[in-house]
Symmetry: C2
Subunit: 417 residues, 2 copies
């Protein structure tokens, strides 16, 4: 179990942390230091209470009348607007619905349709696989009307050309934590007549995002990482106002009844709702949306700039502690050196990264492993402390010096890694 000792430095930093009280809103598992908020954010009292109330009061007591009485019918939009505030999007441009993969399918179709004549989706070789798979799936369906070109991440901007229909980029690389420069990406795409689709999975809730300011065309993202909305919680999608305003036919092909202009007229022919609502598909999952809604309320009074500041503080302190312990030589960072070029995570390379991660977990320190050989540390400014950083790195040092990763028990692979 993690020791409760803390260096004076860590203690000092925690005392002066303006976000420190937020930690009390979360359920910190007993004897655990949690640095995996970039995979699954922690449960908060706010979410727990809201979901329980939504079940007991809304579903339990008001049942079907809740679609009106508790405005369930508009929940994907009202929750979407709360997400919008965190990603620099205006009201009425963001929905909370379906999964990131499915939302990507919708905006891919929309982008290829707007930029018809071009077929190429340009992305990076180490983009998160599900994003690439969704393009490959669309390719299977559309044949030559959709092509996928992959380039190394560092060549992405230079690779955009007059054939590119859409650039598909995850802002923060899920392995390295490298943060792409959205302003430059957008400018380069615009100059070549390409549209931009940005996956904000590791961005939303982690630092300020400025979609409208950077003139991004489409964005998608998930709510179960830095937004702490629960395992597999509904995802989000954003469509730039200019596209919503100029559309004259359905923008995407998943014509669910809740994207219809008049769902309760039950007419035979599809007619898309105006604006972002046409990106809705089936009946929204209310319990899950209530969890997202509550999780977002925690961000209501927070300036995302403060989140970013603390996130950088935690990660820089992690690196300093590792340097002090002499660990950076034996498990080098694969993340950018400059804090402003990173998201809210660090990753380290070691041939025994999997076993090292398991050894940490055995000590109550939750990080995660990403193939082929990376140890990934995610920092949540809402609940992580400098003291935790110091303790976790100290445990990591012990594990490395004692070569605990040679223990066979730590080398056995789980289904989910």
């Amino acid at each position: 179990m993690p020791r409760s000792l803390q260096t004076p430095t860590a203690h000092e930093k925690d005392i002066h942390d303006p976000l420190a009280t937020l930690r009390t809103k979360f359920h910190i598992p007993a004897d655990t230091i949690y640095f995996d908020g970039n995979s699954l954010g922690l449960l908060s009292e706010t979410v727990q209470t809201r979901v329980a109330d939504t079940m007991a009061e809304q579903w339990g007591n008001d049942v079907i009348t809740s679609w009106n009485k508790h405005n369930w019918i508009n929940l994907p939009l009202t929750v979407g607007d709360k997400i919008a505030r965190l990603i620099g999007a205006p009201e009425g441009t963001t929905l909370c619905c379906d999964s990131t993969s499915l939302n990507l399918f919708k905006v891919l179709c929309a982008a290829l349709d707007i930029n018809h004549g071009r077929t190429e989706v340009l992305s990076t070789e180490d983009n998160f696989p599900t994003d690439l798979y969704m393009v490959q799936g669309l390719q299977q369906l559309l044949g030559e009307r959709c092509t996928l070109r992959l380039v190394p991440e560092q060549e992405l901007l230079a690779a955009i050309n007059e054939n590119t229909a859409a650039v598909l980029a995850t802002e923060v690389n899920f392995r390295t934590g490298r943060k792409l420069p959205l302003a430059e990406l957008s400018a380069k795409a615009k100059a070549q007549g390409a549209l931009t689709i940005v996956d904000l999975a590791h961005s939303a809730g982690a630092f300020p995002v400025a979609l409208l300011q950077h003139d991004i065309d489409f964005a998608i993202g998930c709510t179960y990482k830095y937004l702490n909305a629960g395992p597999g919680a509904p995802a989000f999608l954003y469509v730039a106002p200019k596209h919503l305003e100029s559309s004259r036919k359905p923008m995407q092909p998943l014509f669910g009844w809740l994207g219809h202009a008049e769902p309760f007229a039950f007419s035979v022919d599809y007619a898309p709702a105006k604006g972002i609502r046409q990106f809705l598909t089936g009946t929204p999952p209310i319990l899950a949306l209530a969890a997202v809604d509550a999780a977002l309320d925690i961000f209501a009074d927070i300036d995302m700039a403060d989140i970013r500041k603390k996130s950088i503080g935690l990660s820089e302190y992690w690196l300093a502690c590792m340097a002090d312990e002499g660990l950076l030589e034996i498990m080098p960072s694969i993340s950018p050196d400059k804090a402003e070029e990173r998201g809210s995570q660090l990753a380290f390379e070691h041939e025994h990264a999997y076993a090292i991660c398991q050894a940490l977990i055995a000590e109550g320190i939750i990080a995660d492993f990403r193939a082929p050989n990376y140890l990934r540390i995610g920092f949540s400014a809402l609940y992580n402390t400098y003291g935790e950083v110091q303790q976790a790195v100290s445990s990591l040092a012990t594990i490395m010096h004692e070569r605990r990763y040679e223990n066979e028990a730590f080398q056995q692979r789980n289904t989910v890694t």
Copy 2:
């Protein structure tokens, strides 16, 4: 509020109801008689407790390790297997995931691909709109590779011909409650080389379904009606074993990472998982799936034949009570006369059906309205009683005799009807 009086007949029927004790598992809203289980089933203690535990124990305490420890990763399959038991499907053929609309998109693509060379999806004019919209969406995407032909429900079987790629039918009509003969539908389709896609939205949990026996190719359905899994709960999809076994390439184009053969290898190229798992897309919504899982546990020891028997008992008694009150002349049934030709609902036509429904709701009797002028009554064998039927019809008689539907307050339309 509903009166608590009960005729001796109703009382007698309730005493002899072998499923009577199941009602205690559900949260019956105070002063309410609920005949809208075909729109949104009631909350049970089982679901409430499971969701609370999944939040507190699994997400809250075990956090990310729950993907292995609590087998979250396989939940869409294990819940799918529980649904399979209710719809006459073998293990490993049914998934609980996404929405009914999205699952329809997947199986539509699979059917058109298997039956390549044919383009026609044949359905009924009064199929539930979202089913028709999804075909129209696919049509927008694929152009002439997908066409939709609609015929009146009574002409469906005769309309299947050698051009039909797939017949898309909802087993129980959402307005009239008419139950299509799946055995005949399947036989006719097979004879013409057409595949069958059946929407079980109003079937699953309402009566026995025999998908494998009837050689149905694909099925989809929802869990928030007769399965009581909560508003907008994840839907299901079924693929016949013969198709799963013979597939040599990805069967559907929504290539999410959890449908990959090795999702945690994070490889660049999509390779479908074997069997039904390839119909998975993004990360599954665990809280919502836990609700479905628990809701299905209520069915574990129940014979679906008993559910069907009580469902028919309740609806026949409803009709008898209406006949006694002389109501069938003024608001005739649009449902089939023969109980075996109906699902678990009745519907009545009246020009003031909307206001009548509102007047019932004002009495604590929840039914629903469907455009243009139908009052719809859904029967759940798990929690409805004969006493409730008697009281509801008695209140309906009062409303009709006093012409309360002329009250302006009852004529104002809500967003969701």
